[in-house]
């Protein structure tokens, strides 16, 4: 019994490694796209804003499973093929970019107008104002919602199961199909996910306290 548990744990942890890679890669891809979308929404001309907003709304309205199917099964129609792992990163990354753009947009808008005016009036350029005034505050405003986004992406990597990525849940399913002990194995999978999400949340909230500017803390309830 103990041997079975340890052997299963080894396989599940290998899956957890893939889950972490998927999560980190998707979040980074999402962040890069999201920064441009957010800048377009906050500082862009009306038609750039319109394109960015349409992109964001559409990606936020389509289930992640459908996005994965479009990238993995749909794009080969145009001769673009990805392996399951890459397809999962692209899908999760695109979807996350839509959510992350809203985080950055909100954070940029949360920096008060008066501070921007003050910075400009002491002779800072637009770029300097952004780098020294808006960005340092906006980055802090983003931490709490980004933790939520991290949890969402981490949990949704389990959906990459559907296109055949051998992440945590699929490794678990492989064990189930050879040993037939779904209750233990899926509970172990759930426990590993829980440790990852709960641990990160606790860690980040400590980090947040360390970097907080007194009087500027933000915490909200978001689906995450």
């Amino acid at each position: 019994m103990m041997g079975f548990f340890l052997n299963s744990m080894e396989v599940i942890l290998r899956g957890a490694g893939v889950t972490v890679k998927l999560t980190v890669a998707s979040l980074l891809l999402g962040a890069i796209i999201a920064i441009f979308v957010a800048l377009a929404q906050v500082y862009g001309k009306w038609w750039i804003n319109l394109i960015a907003t349409t992109y964001e709304r559409i990606l936020r309205s389509i289930p992640i499973l459908i996005i994965m199917f479009m990238v993995f099964f749909g794009l080969p129609t145009f001769g673009i093929r990805f392996d399951p792992f890459l397809a999962a990163i692209i899908s999760l990354g695109l979807r996350s970019s839509a959510y992350q753009s809203q985080i950055y947009r909100g954070a940029l808008l949360a920096v008060s107008e008066g501070q921007i005016m003050a910075a400009r009036s002491v002779g800072m350029t637009g770029i300097q104002t952004f780098l020294h005034i808006s960005f340092p505050q906006a980055a802090r405003f983003s931490v709490a919602p980004l933790t939520n986004e991290f949890t969402i992406v981490l949990k949704d990597t389990s959906i990459a199961y559907a296109i055949g990525v051998t992440e945590l849940l699929r490794e678990g399913t492989y064990i189930v199909s050879t040993t037939y002990d779904p209750l233990l194995i899926y509970s172990m999978c759930a426990a590993v996910y829980f440790i990852m999400t709960f641990g990160t949340n606790k860690f980040v909230s400590l980090l947040e306290k360390g970097f907080a500017i007194p009087g500027y803390e933000v915490r909200g309830v978001e689906r995450g």
């Binding site: 559409i58 309205s61 499973l65 199917f69």
Partner: protein
């Protein structure tokens, strides 16, 4: 584009039969979830130490694990302890329990945003604690929760697509079924995406008009 329209209309009857299941799953689960959410949030805010611990553990565990794993536990693991659930029942149970935890968090936030003095006032005019919660706090909290509740409904509609993985013939499953026969994967899944998009726009519009309708001026 012409090709897309042709494929979309061929797939349309299948997608609509799938949409029926998608909406059934989402509506039943959001209602059960609302019940769970109201119960759990009340326990978390007004409960004693034991009920607080249990309800908090419930919320943290559900929010810390993926919905797909929860679904797999109900559908694939429960038969091991002698509970056999049909795909649709397993989906409804796991979606309701999942949504309940998130709704509990939204409602808890709303309850705490209702002024503390109102509870004292209600108790001082002779209401019981249960009456104060039911007649004074909840009606205000539920109004405040509508925007995040709309979000939750939108999330739930999107996540019902996971029911496809345990064999419920909902919208995504029907799309997969059509696409695996005519090999028009991009066109069919774009069509499915368009259907989800319309449903979600309709939901958002409906609830924002509901919010205006039930609004109490000044609160």
């Amino acid at each position: 584009m012409a090709e897309f329209i042709k494929v979309f209309f061929q797939a349309f009857p299948f997608l609509m039969s799938g949409l029926k299941f998608t909406m059934e799953l989402a509506i039943i689960s959001i209602i059960f979830g609302l019940g769970i959410g109201m119960l759990i949030s009340t326990l978390r805010v007004y409960g004693g130490r034991i009920s607080y611990t249990f309800s908090t553990a419930y919320v943290e565990i559900i929010r810390g694990t993926p919905l797909l794993v929860q679904l797999f536990i109900f559908y694939f693991s429960f038969p091991q302890i002698g509970i056999h659930l049909s795909p649709i029942v397993a989906s409804i149970i796991s979606f309701s329990l999942n949504s309940g935890a998130y709704q509990a968090e939204y409602i808890r936030g709303a309850i705490q945003s209702v002024e503390g003095g109102q509870m004292k006032a209600a108790l001082s005019v002779g209401m019981t604690k249960w009456q104060s919660i039911r007649l004074v706090i909840m009606p205000q909290a539920l109004r405040k929760v509508i925007p995040s509740w709309t979000n939750e409904f939108v999330y739930l509609v999107k996540y019902t697509s996971l029911a496809y993985l345990v064999g419920v013939p909902e919208l995504t499953a029907q799309g997969e079924f059509v696409a695996s026969r005519n090999f028009e994967f991009m066109n069919v899944f774009s069509g499915v995406a368009v259907v989800y998009l319309f449903v979600i726009l309709a939901i958002t519009w409906f609830f924002s008009s509901l919010e205006k309708k039930v609004k109490i001026p000044g609160v």
